[in-house]
């Protein structure tokens, strides 16, 4: 039968132009194209894929071409319209005074300085109640040179200057873009940012491995294979991948065996356990291996050898063939 299988595979071979695995560079290029068109952009993807870094890199890249002024805010559940646009604040004398929010102030600056590009950077874009927080901005983003709106509290007119763009980043592992209403979604360009194993490889090459018993490439292949298992698991999806930055120990000096062990023990395994749901060792086994799952179940210590056993298995997974 082996001959038949080989013959069929040879006869049915049909190589197609395969797109290279996704790279951060392509996201950067896409974002720059959108910004050049005056579009507001949101970079989204799983945690640890370098979205915030990419946003800051984009600003640096823009700075090489023009004068750029940027302001960074982080959205969170307590960040509201009053902080973003305008709101009444205690004046310290028992009364209230109307104070412009961070975005409205930034708009005023942009209007007065037409020669510079103003980039309003919002980290963790989806952590605030977006429709409430953004307020009139939804209307103003479209046809920004023509539309003008009155703000809710002061009733003053506001227009989005043409030299201002909003650049957001958001993590989709726990909150997908589905939580945003369609009206909001269509006003932004959403650019995905996935794990980039080439970046991971270059990063690790710069830092260096010491006595790990595996090569940097094998480690990257293991990361790819682990993410492949996550993506194909019915309980998870591509947004729950482990970003390439999460595989790299954050430390000065070269990376040792226990550094990688710690990354898995204290970052990656707890993350996966949360994704699968506590007590779902059956699902976890499909992603990791029986040995580690048994130890996690019993609360036993997971040794470096256990971790490297898993990494070895993952790195020889055919799924990672051809990633470089």
């Amino acid at each position: 039968m082996g001959q038949r299988v080989d013959a069929l595979r040879e006869l049915s071979s049909y190589p197609v132009p395969s797109s290279k695995y996704w790279s951060i560079k392509s996201a950067q290029e896409a974002a720059l194209r959108c910004i050049a068109e005056g579009d507001c952009v949101v970079l989204y993807g799983p945690p640890g894929t370098g979205k915030t870094k990419l946003a800051l890199d984009l600003i640096h890249e823009l700075e090489t071409r023009m004068k750029v002024v940027h302001e960074l805010v982080q959205f969170h559940p307590k960040f509201g319209y009053e902080d973003f646009m305008e709101g009444y604040r205690p004046d310290g004398k028992g009364g209230f005074t109307l104070v412009d929010g961070v975005f409205k102030t930034f708009c005023s600056k942009a209007s007065a300085d037409k020669d510079a590009l103003y980039v309003f950077l919002i980290d963790e874009f989806n952590r605030a109640e977006l429709s409430t927080t953004l307020g009139e901005v939804l209307l103003l983003i479209e046809d920004r040179n023509q539309r003008m709106a009155k703000t809710a509290h002061s009733g003053s007119s506001i227009q989005l200057p043409p030299n201002l763009i909003i650049l957001g980043t958001m993590n989709t592992a726990d909150k997908t873009i589905a939580i945003m209403d369609y009206a909001l979604r269509r006003r932004f360009k959403f650019i995905p940012v996935w794990p980039d194993y080439e970046v991971m490889k270059n990063w690790l090459t710069r830092v260096g491995f010491v006595d790990l018993g595996i090569s940097i490439e094998e480690y990257c292949r293991a990361a790819f294979a682990l993410n492949k298992r996550i993506t194909s698991n019915p309980l998870m999806n591509k947004h729950m991948q482990i970003g390439h930055a999460m595989f790299v120990p954050k430390k000065r000096g070269t990376i040792t065996r226990s550094d990688v062990g710690d990354v898995f023990r204290y970052t990656i395994l707890p993350q996966l356990e949360t994704y699968c749901g506590f007590g779902r060792e059956d699902e976890l086994k499909k992603i990791l291996n029986a040995n580690i799952c048994e130890k996690m179940k019993n609360g036993q210590e997971i040794l470096d050898d256990d971790i490297f056993g898993l990494i070895k298995t993952l790195s020889s997974d055919q799924a990672s063939d051809g990633i470089f």
Binding site: M1, Q3, R4, V5, A7, L8, R9, L11, S12, S13, Y14, P15, V16, P17
Partner: protein, 266 residues
């Protein structure tokens, strides 16, 4: 077929088992996307809702495996057979193959021994022979076209192919086969025992070549399609009107290229 391959890519890795609920969904998607019934609506009785046809593979599996869309069920070494698309099936389902490329691929690649079928594989392997049947038919038609009295002869009937080509299925015997067919047309001589299976196979292949545009039906005759302007233009008609302009539009060159690319030589 492109739509079917596209649906199958969505169900890759599923078991063919009719108790798998995904098979019902697959069947529904196939019917929706292709507009064809992939399973005849036959029940055991009016009161028993059980389709005796089983899964879609029983009904259309041969079509999908012979055209290299999916791997046959018997390729599984252990466990339940799973839907597995070939590289060509994946490319087709994902939109990388145009209609023209699809036809050319099938004409060039269909080969005996056909690895999808155990019986065919055994018979041809044991005989130590190979044949590209669709190319073989095109070669015969081309040989007839090039023979005197010219393109008026560039047709064949399934009966002629069954009588003269089938018993000498070899790319080396094209000249002999074409001569025998022409002689037979001048002075009918040879007769053969009728075989429904052989005729059906040949008709299927001629039908495919016609759908693919390499040949066309002229009544019961299947003619080589020498013009891109098909099907009104017969080979005979083309010969009379042959000009540089029409030569450009000719599929003759395409057919010759196809035969050359298939590796059997024109």
């Amino acid at each position: 077929m492109q739509q079917a391959a596209s649906v199958l890519t969505l169900y890759e890795g599923e078991t063919f088992d009719s108790s798998n609920p995904a098979m019902d969904e697959l069947l529904g998607d196939l019917q929706l996307r292709t507009g064809e019934d992939w399973l005849p609506k036959r029940k055991v009785s009016d009161s028993v809702e059980f389709n005796v046809e089983g899964d879609f593979y029983r009904n259309k599996g041969r079509l999908l495996t012979s055209f290299f869309i999916i791997e046959p069920k018997d390729f599984v070494e252990s466990g339940l057979p799973l839907i597995r698309l070939t590289q060509f099936g994946q490319a087709l389902g994902n939109g990388f193959v145009s209609e023209r490329q699809y036809y050319e691929f099938i004409v060039k690649r269909i080969k005996y021994p056909h690895p999808a079928y155990e019986d065919n594989w055994q018979a041809w392997t044991q005989a130590g022979r190979t044949l590209r049947p669709l190319i073989f038919i095109l070669q015969i038609l081309l040989e007839l076209y090039e023979s005197k009295p010219g393109c008026a002869n560039s047709y064949a009937t399934s009966e002629e192919l069954a009588t003269f080509a089938y018993p000498q299925s070899s790319h080396e015997k094209i000249g002999v086969i074409a001569d025998s067919i022409i002689q037979h047309r001048i002075k009918p001589s040879e007769t053969r025992e009728y075989s429904d299976e052989v005729n059906r196979k040949i008709n299927d292949m001629l039908g495919f070549l016609c759908i693919a545009g390499f040949t066309f039906y002229d009544g019961k005759l299947v003619r080589l399609n020498l013009l891109g302007v098909h099907p009104q233009e017969s080979a005979y008609y083309w010969e009379k009107r042959k000009t540089g302009e029409y030569e450009e539009a000719s599929t003759l060159r395409d057919i010759c290229n196809l035969i050359r690319d298939s590796g059997v030589g024109a």
